[in-house]
């Protein structure tokens, strides 16, 4: 029985509980709604909740725990002598799982029957060939002990799933029956149902906390794992980034950090003046018509996915810069460069800077402008000497938020900045960033044992910490600024 079907069964039980509960509540009150504490629908709801919620909780816990238990049981079957040279228990277990899945698939396709599998011996039949027929590839020929482990794995999984199905259905029925038996006209079904719904609301709002927790835990654990394999001092202070497949890699973050900061700096150098001046013009000078057209048009830039900017950098901006700047000036011959990525990222950041600054400038009280005009200042003098100083904290907050965006941006640099880790000052040379290397170390091969893969988590953690700090500071600055004028 699969999980989807089980969910459906529980829902059907719960729905039936709703109908029955509703009917029974009316029956106990002899059809007189006024004699009941709660409306019939609430009685139905409380039966529904009692039937479904505990059953789903049991199911979730079971699904989380079962693989761990089975893994333990099965790995006990594998002797140290079964593990080939240069391999590990976890790799053998991966094989076991793959064989088990392959057998399931073979049964589902009708290529094998359960009886055949039970009597099969790995050393006699060509298991590898048979599994290849159903599209499951296994690296080497299968040892008998591994095959036995796979059979055991399948058997345990099957038993586990059956026991779970029985248990979940039993819990659902028991919950429904319990709640059904409690129905009387005086039963406070509405309070029960509302308390349960409120619990669900609270549960939903903790998803944000759980997500943050999940991010931190997954990053910290794998980073700790990485620092066991590779010294932290080298990671933070080594000046070269040169991963090797055969070990002995140099995995220093410094060149990546340099690339990240350089690209972000170029991006901000584009976005801050343009965005700020555009915001000032829109807030202080533009007529309502111009503002009504230009402001949404600029904000379109914020709605365009970063992959579009990445492609723009790759096929348009990069070749343009190479043909008209880098090659004539003799500064480089690559179309991906710090300047390419920085320019395009700058365009992407314009709306961030402009709409945040626009809000901030609009929040400056009109009285300050009037005071300045009253003293005879021109409009631009008012902007430069009164409004900007007053709005400065908010603008700084906006720039910090834009900086955090720039540091964490991935697709534009993946497609525009290049892949070579370098410490260079030439903006027309290809350099690489932290995010680019996270992508390149984690795509394709995801064998979680080598420092070359795990370094991505250390890079991710560094990125997370830096952007988090920037965000917290920026949000604080903006909030304090708002309070100042409210």
């Amino acid at each position: 029985m699969n999980v989807g079907l089980l969910i459906l069964i529980v829902l059907v039980i719960a729905a039936a509980g709703y109908v029955l509960g509703r009917r029974r509540s009316l029956a106990t009150a002899d059809g007189n709604i006024r004699g009941m504490h709660s409306l019939p629908g609430y009685h139905g709801q409380s039966v529904f909740l009692f039937a479904s919620v505990p059953a789903f909780l049991v199911m979730i816990v079971w699904l989380l725990v079962q693989p761990l238990v089975i893994e333990n049981q099965v790995s006990a079957l594998i002797q140290p002598s079964d593990i080939p040279e240069g391999s590990s228990l976890s790799l053998v277990m991966a094989d076991v799982r793959r064989i088990a899945d392959g057998l399931d698939l073979a049964v589902a396709r009708g290529a094998l029957t359960e009886d055949q599998i039970a009597t099969m011996r790995a050393d006699l039949t060509n298991l590898r060939g048979r599994l290849a027929d159903v599209g499951v590839a296994i690296a080497a020929d299968v040892k008998q002990s591994v095959f036995v482990a796979a059979q055991e794995y399948r058997a345990l999984n099957k038993i586990g799933l059956m026991v779970m199905s029985g248990l979940v259905i039993a819990v659902a029925v028991a919950g429904a029956a319990y709640s059904y038996s409690r129905i009387t006209p005086r039963y406070r079904a509405r309070n029960v149902a509302e308390a349960a719904i409120k619990a669900l609301l609270i549960l939903s709002s903790t998803v944000a906390i759980l997500t943050t927790l999940g991010i931190i835990l997954s990053l910290v654990f794998e980073t700790a794992h990485f620092f066991n394999l590779y010294p932290a001092r080298d990671f933070f202070f080594n000046l070269t980034w040169n991963p090797q497949f055969r070990g002995g890699s140099d995995l220093g973050i410094i060149p990546l950090l340099w690339g990240t900061l350089y690209v972000s700096f170029v991006a901000l150098a584009v976005a801050v003046p343009v965005g700020l001046l555009a915001a000032i013009y829109l807030a202080e000078y533009a007529s309502p018509t111009v503002r009504g057209i230009a402001k949404p048009a600029i904000e379109i830039l914020a709605g365009i996915p970063t992959i579009v900017y990445g492609l723009f950098a790759l096929i348009t901006v990069g070749p343009l810069l190479r043909d008209y700047f880098a090659q004539p000036l003799g500064l480089g011959s690559s179309s991906s460069s710090v300047l390419t990525a920085g320019l395009v990222m700058g365009i992407m950041l314009i709306p961030f800077v402009s709409s945040l600054s626009d809000d901030v400038i609009n929040a400056v009280p009109q009285a300050m402008r009037d005071g300045s005009y009253g003293l005879g200042a021109t409009q631009s003098e008012t902007v430069k000497k009164v409004i900007l100083p007053a709005a400065l904290p908010g603008i700084v907050g906006a720039i910090l938020l834009a900086a955090s965006r720039a540091i964490g941006e991935t697709m534009i640099v993946v497609m525009g900045a290049g892949a070579a880790a370098k410490l260079s000052l030439n903006p027309l040379e290809a350099m690489t960033t932290i995010t680019v290397k996270i992508v390149s170390q984690l795509t394709g091969d995801t064998e979680f044992a080598s420092p070359e893969t795990l370094v991505a988590f250390a890079l991710g953690l560094s990125l997370f910490v830096v952007t988090l700090l920037l965000n917290i500071v920026a949000l604080q600055v903006v909030r304090r600024y708002r309070e100042q004028y409210e």
Binding site: L64, P67, E194, I197, L203, S204, S205, V207, A208, I209, T211, T212, G214, I215, S218, L219, F221, E222, V274, L277, A278, I280, Y281, L282, A297, I298, L301, I304, P305, T306, I307, V308, Y309, G310, L311, F312, I315, T316, I347, I350, Q379, S380, V383, K384, S404, R405, G408, T410, M411, V414, M415, T435, I438, L442, T446, G460, L463, T467, L468, N471
Partner: protein
Amino acid sequence: MSVDNTVAEAGRPRLIRADRTRRRNAAETRFRIYGVVAIVISLAALVFLVLSILSNGLGAFSQTFIAFDVYLDPAVIDKNGNRNPEEMKKVTTIGYGNLLKKALAADLEARGVSTEGIPPKEVDGLLSKDAPAQLRDKVLADPGLVGQTIRFETYANGRIDGYFKGRVTMESARLDSNVSPEQLELADRMRAAGIVSVRFNWGFLFGPDASELRPEAAGLGIAIIGSAYMMMIVLVLALPIGVAASIYLEEFARQNAFTDVIEVNIANLAAVPSIVFGILGLALFINFLGLPQSAPIVGGLVLTLMTLPTIIIATRASLKAVPPSIREAALGVGASKMQTVFHHVLPLAMPGILTGTIIGLAQALGETAPLLLIGMVAFVRDFPGPPPEGFFDPAAALPVQVYNWTQRADPAFVERASGAIIVLLVFLLSMNIIAIILRRRFERRW
């Protein structure tokens, strides 16, 4: 103004006063111009971006086709003569390739298109490398065709297609080992004879991806389905969870340490780099929970977590916009707090919530970086099954497909990538327009 100044302060030399005013006015004008320039730069960047994508990508929607008569020789593709598809599967694409080669040569001769001076291999090279597989699929789907002469239409090779779209020229063909100027001239003659035509290509929208060597056959079908599956998952998970969380925070929660922590968390999650969510997906959903790689379910879960803050922020704003008098009236006639919220406040806030949700979905649709980490870059040729099992099958996603195509060597894939971007932008545009219409029609001002 300058007149006023000079009259009011008579004690000083006139010239300098006027000068100073002129300078101040010039500064004013300059400042204004800076502002205009900034806006022009932003808008020019937008226009340039859109034009560059359009000019590169529109070509992907039309394709060069070659149509000719093929005699499906039973001696080649069905040696036993019993039209049994199982036995006919033994004939590989090489057999069909030979059939096509002969048929094309015969058709050219019959129509009087001269192939003089061009080796047969190059004539054959006008066809897509995908053509034999297409013919084989067609025959296997309908074995009754064997022995007949059918009109078979297939893609022209990517280079020939590029020639008709202006990407490949006679000069570039001379330097290219994959195509010769003679082939291009032949293609011109074939077009004049009506064998070759350029028209809209549905295969680009609905077909599966194709390998590195056959850009002309690559399509977006699987990517569109994968993206659609992910959006379904995001909608089904993020909307209820986001709305529930917002209702709690906005209507029930007291101001305490717990709600403070949640608020700070939501604000920060909205600004965490998207790639970090990809790492979370890889570590939590794939490594820890053992969900399959490159499956829409994992992508959908990751995008759900990313979209939640957007939906929560939008929902809270629209809940806040419902005036307190509505709540007070409901409470006043004896509704419980829960009834007040679900029967009165929530329906009134619904348009705002839906608008926020659509905008959140649009963001999620364009998100690429986290999907790279959870294996959506894999080359997928088979369409995923129908949901819900299909959620666990390997699939691609629209933005990732774009990235994938840009990593390939053949320049024809650049056109495909830009075309895919156009498709993506059309989806985003329609979602945003729906959001705007919803807001216009249903938003109430209190």
